[in-house]
Structures are given as C-alpha cells and as structure tokens.
C-alpha cells in the first residue's frame, strides 16, 4: 500500500490491478471491461449502473447493459470499487483506488452527500474488531440527517 503513494498517480495502475485480478481468476481483460474501468475512474464521485451506462453511450463506447452489470461485481471483488449506498432500488458505487477511504453524511431531504474522514473513527473500529476477534476488511458508515441548508429552510415542514 505504501509504495503507491510515492509515485505520481498513474491512471494505468488500476488497469494493472484489474488485469492481475482477472488473470488470477482465469478471466480476460476485454475491451468492454477496459472501457467500463476507464469510465469508472474518469468520473469522480458516486454512480449507479444506469448512469454509468449512459456515460459510456454518450462517448463512443459501445458496451451493453449486461456487461456493465457483469463487470461491476468484479471491480468490487478486486477492491477497486465499493458499493456505498442502496437507496430505494438503485445500487450506488464509487471507485476507491486513488480516492482515499471516507464516510458519508447523507441528507435525507435533498440527497446531498458530504464526504468525511476521521482517523479516530477508523482507530475505534479497529478496536471494535479486535474485541470481537473479527478481521475487518472494509466498512461503510452512513449518517443520515439534514444538511445545513435543508435544516435552515425546511425546519417546520412536515416530514
């Protein structure tokens, strides 16, 4: 993990990671998988399969919906992408490599997402895992509530 930080961020690193992962499982790095990987790391922030597909279409990239749905779990499995929220029916993802781990404050009124990070919080989670003899790999923390502007303008509205 450490050495990576010494280099200038290189956009082909995630491709190498993905390729390694695939070959270790006897799978292939096809053009479609590459296009999907590129798009995921080009866009910053969260995305859902639908939106990703749309972005791919808006460029040249001809990738089918099925391939998007088949590739996302692979990206999650090899740790390049995380599933961050599943509100209603939509699964939402974000890429994690070169992005840094963080948690989310989600406004239930306007949907805004604020990214936060606290080393102390990470440390306490390690403690919790240790106490339960649990080998924690990843975690998701989502705090739902009201962001500043919704708090200000909608205080007394119903719901």
């Amino acid at each position: 993990m450490k050495p990576l930080r010494l280099f200038h961020y290189n956009s082909s690193m995630e491709k190498e990671i993905f390729r390694d992962f695939l070959s270790r499982k006897g799978l292939k790095l096809t053009k479609e998988r590459q296009k999907i990987l590129d798009e995921v790391f080009t866009l910053h922030g969260h995305f859902d399969p639908e939106g990703l597909l749309e972005r791919l279409r808006r460029r040249e990239a001809k990738v089918s919906k099925a391939s998007v749905y088949r590739t996302l779990p692979l990206l999650v499995q090899c740790g390049l992408v995380e599933q961050v929220e599943r509100d209603g029916k939509h699964a939402r993802y974000e890429h994690t490599f070169g992005h840094g781990h963080h948690d989310h404050l989600i406004c239930v009124k306007c949907g805004r997402v604020i990214e936060v990070f606290s080393p102390k919080l990470e440390a306490i989670q390690d403690d919790l895992c240790r106490e339960s003899k649990f080998n924690g790999i990843t975690h998701t923390l989502e705090i739902k509530g009201y962001c500043q502007s919704c708090e200000r303008c909608c205080l007394s509205s119903p719901q």
Copy 2:
C-alpha cells in the same frame, strides 16, 4: 426518553409509540398494522419483508404482502425499526426499540452478524456532524470481514 428506562420493559410500549405516530399523521392503527408490529417485536434479530410475511402466515395472521410493504416504511419513519442492510436484492430490517442502538460486524464468508456498540464511536460521529454543520439523525455502520472461525478454517481458500 428517560422515563421509559424506569419501567420494566412492557411489550405494549411500542404499540403506543406507533399509535401516537400514526394519529399524529392522521393514519389509523389497523389490525393488520398491529399484527405486523407484534411480529416484528416478537422476532429478535434481523428480518426481511419476505421472511416477515412468512412468519405472519405461519400463525393465524392473514396479512397481505402489500400491507407488509406498506407498513415497514411507517415503522422506520417512527423510529421503531431500522433498515440495516441491503445485500443483493433483499432489504433487511431490525427493530430498535428496547433493543438499543448498535453497529454490525458482518462476516462475508458465513454471513454471521456480530452486534457491537461503542460510546466513543458515537461521540466521534457527533463531532463529524458538527464539523460539517450536519444534523445527523441516524446512522449505519457495517464492517465487513471475516469472523474468528472463518478466519481460522478458510484462510487460504480462494474467495
């Protein structure tokens, strides 16, 4: 909130809370809603709409699938139930009243769920919200990894 702790836990309290919530919104406490509420507080642990419906059927309770799906959001809205995980397609819930807030360590190998709680962690979350001027209402923390027994026996198996 305080007075409740002074009494021995009384199974009708959640009913009162639900009734109050409903009447405040001009809704009614129907037999179906009561049966659903009872079942949710009878079962301990997590559940999904499907499983809840099955349990209801296994007793006398004639409640339709539609009513289950229509009632669960109400229970969430009034704070008696929380949505805790959404893995694959299934939404999972648990009741919170008389149960105490806690977070989850989820084993990705065997699916076991360990409940944990840390006041320090809660406090740090409050800090995070304050820094972002965010009014946090609820939160969900899920740490995924390997529980002790899966760690022991499956260390080198693929995936």
